[in-house]
Amino acid sequence: MNLHEYQAAELFAAQGIPTNGGAVASTPGEAEVIARGAGGVVVVKAQVHSGGRGKAGGVKLARTPQEARAAAEAILGLEIRGHIVRKVLVAPGADIAQEFYLGVSLDRTRRQNVVIASGEGGVDIEEVARERPERIVRALVDPLLGIHPWQARQIGFALGIAFDKVAGFATITRALYDTYIAEDATLAEINPLVLTGAGDWLALDAKMSIDDNALFRHPDFEALRDLDEEVATEVDARQSGISFVKLDGDIGCIVNGAGLAMATMDAVKLHGGEPANFLDVGGGASADQVAQAFALVTADPHVRAILINIFGGITRGDVVAQGIAEARERVAVTVPIVVRLSGTNAAEGQKLLAASGLIATESMDDAAAEAVRAAHAA
């Protein structure tokens, strides 16, 4: 799950990283009040789970409370890469002398965490990595010992930070790594980390993503979840143990297994259709799971056909067919359903399905083609 800037900043501050403070507003009026309290220049920043908010007009400087109100008015309700802005952070302006990028994430290749830093802060780090890789400093973290003080210092020296500022930089680097570990993050990032005109370090932004698999260790994070930011059906899916991702097409997919679900989406596309979703019902494909999957898929008004693709492994095909039949009784589905059932007891299952009036096919390709045809015919 993603955290908002203001939530991540609180976690950073708790580990001793100097952050810029500020407060969150949901209305222009609140933004004005916060700006008045802050005095002086403030920055009004969209709180959305998306990058690129600067370019999208989601960050504005305001010299007066009135300007802050106007800025909030402009930003709230803005759509940034498909995310509607519902909150803004109103934070004091800073006197920026130098900007840096500092982040911690997983280096999948090495199966180790890695600290990434750059003297180019406040810009898209992926762009820097692509175009000016020599401006990026990377330090792999020992998986058993964590980040060493010497490593944190070395990153600072490599960025050309003046010696009297290196200790402060190293402390922030270690604190960021500690936050990353303590909170089971998959990403912890400060962009930009700045040196102010007065020579102080300040984290002007804060970004964190948390490992969903580790949420059991962090029950408090449930409260930080911004359900407004998440697609409602994806939230429902998570609660029923189904992996679901909303897409833009019209063929609803219900599949067992993540790899097979992706391959099914690909097959739909290959046959000229567009998948409406990724959906992995998980291992069992019980009537309950299938019913829940029907509900998720049919909640999308664009869906014009449903493609069910089940490879019966340990689960028997006849049991799956039974589950589909039961689910159909519980959830009214008005669009055509194409079912492909393979593997254990597939023949028995296909018979049951055919008997219940569904289009049953044997191969995934046939099923995808059939679903696309049915959708276009509908």
């Binding site: 999948r108 992996s243 993540a258 790899g259 097979l260 989406m265 990724f278 492994g313 593997g343």
Partner: protein
């Protein structure tokens, strides 16, 4: 011959008395796998599918000399189970468990490497050498002995491909699921090296998916070290960036890890990349014919 498991494999099942553990133990034994023991704290004296249960891996090792561990314990206890297995000398540990936090797997990976053991998974279906041993959760009946090595990040998609191969009369030497998590113990490269060295394998099917760069590393490895023909398929050609496709590891982040990149890298390395699972058997048949090998043994 085969890779990872064979007729001499002596399996210990960690979490053997749990729902998953006991079910799959029975399935493995029915397939003919030699399950010599199981572990569940407090389970001493019980049996599952005639395998004796012990309180600790140490006790089970002393009494039954297993050489492969398979883990079915829940995610929050699975890292401890992996440590227990490798610290008690198990050279190969197969972790089926899904949902282990990455922060736990990073030190596990380092430790396993350090002690010189091999971890397969987590969040994987395990491995099977058709006709010899099944140490995993795949449906055994779809597999046929033969010359094709299968390696995959996925579960049911692998069954799909294996089933297609078997229906086309093409048997498998071994099929290995490496798992769909960001941190896994055994990579494509590791398995490719094993298949390349395995005299029973004449051709290889590699089933990748979006996320990470293990497929790109595999491509480089294939180019430099693999002489046997390789057929590849990458799932997730239509997946959008930034969204996790079920598997924790299946996510296109920062524009990298796309199916297109992986397919291009594999093609550049001489892999025959197909666009759908059903095209795998044909490609393999062509590849085997090209090197003059029969499709079944």
């Amino acid at each position: 011959m085969s890779i990872l498991v064979d007729r001499d494999t002596r399996v210990i099942v960690q979490g053997i008395t749990g729902r998953e553990g006991s079910f799959h133990t029975t399935q493995m034994v029915e397939y003919g796998t030699n399950v010599v023991s199981g572990v569940t704290p407090g389970g001493r004296g019980k049996t599952v599918a005639e395998a004796p249960v012990f309180d600790t891996v140490a006790d089970a090792v002393a009494a039954t000399e297993p050489n492969v561990a398979i883990i079915f314990v829940p995610a929050r206890f699975a890292p401890d189970a992996i440590y227990e297995a490798v610290d008690n000398g198990l050279p190969l540990v197969i972790c089926i468990t899904e949902g282990i936090p990455v922060a736990d797997m990073v030190p596990v990976y380092a430790h396993v490497k350090q002690v010189g053991a091999r971890l397969l998974g987590p969040n994987c279906p395990g491995t099977i050498t058709p006709g010899a041993a099944k140490v995993g959760i795949m449906p055994g009946f779809i597999h046929t002995p033969g010359p094709v090595g299968v390696v995959s990040r996925s579960g049911t998609l692998t069954y799909e491909v294996v089933d297609a191969l078997s229906r086309a009369g093409i048997g498998q030497s071994s099929a290995v699921g490496i798992g769909g998590d960001p941190v896994i113990g055994t990579s494509f490269v590791d398995v490719l090296a094993l298949f390349e060295a395995d005299p029973a394998t004449d051709a290889i099917v590699m089933i990748g998916e979006i996320g990470g760069d293990d497929e790109e590393h595999a491509a480089r490895f294939i180019e430099e070290h693999v002489t046997k023909p390789v057929v590849g398929f990458i799932a997730g050609q239509t997946a959008p960036p930034g969204k996790r496709m079920g598997h924790a590891g299946a996510i296109i982040s920062g524009g990298s890890g796309t199916a297109a990149e992986k397919m291009a890298a594999l093609e550049a390395a001489g892999v025959r990349v197909v666009d759908r699972p059903s095209a795998v058997p044909g490609a393999i048949q062509a590849a085997l014919l090209a090197v003059g090998q029969p499709v079944s043994r």
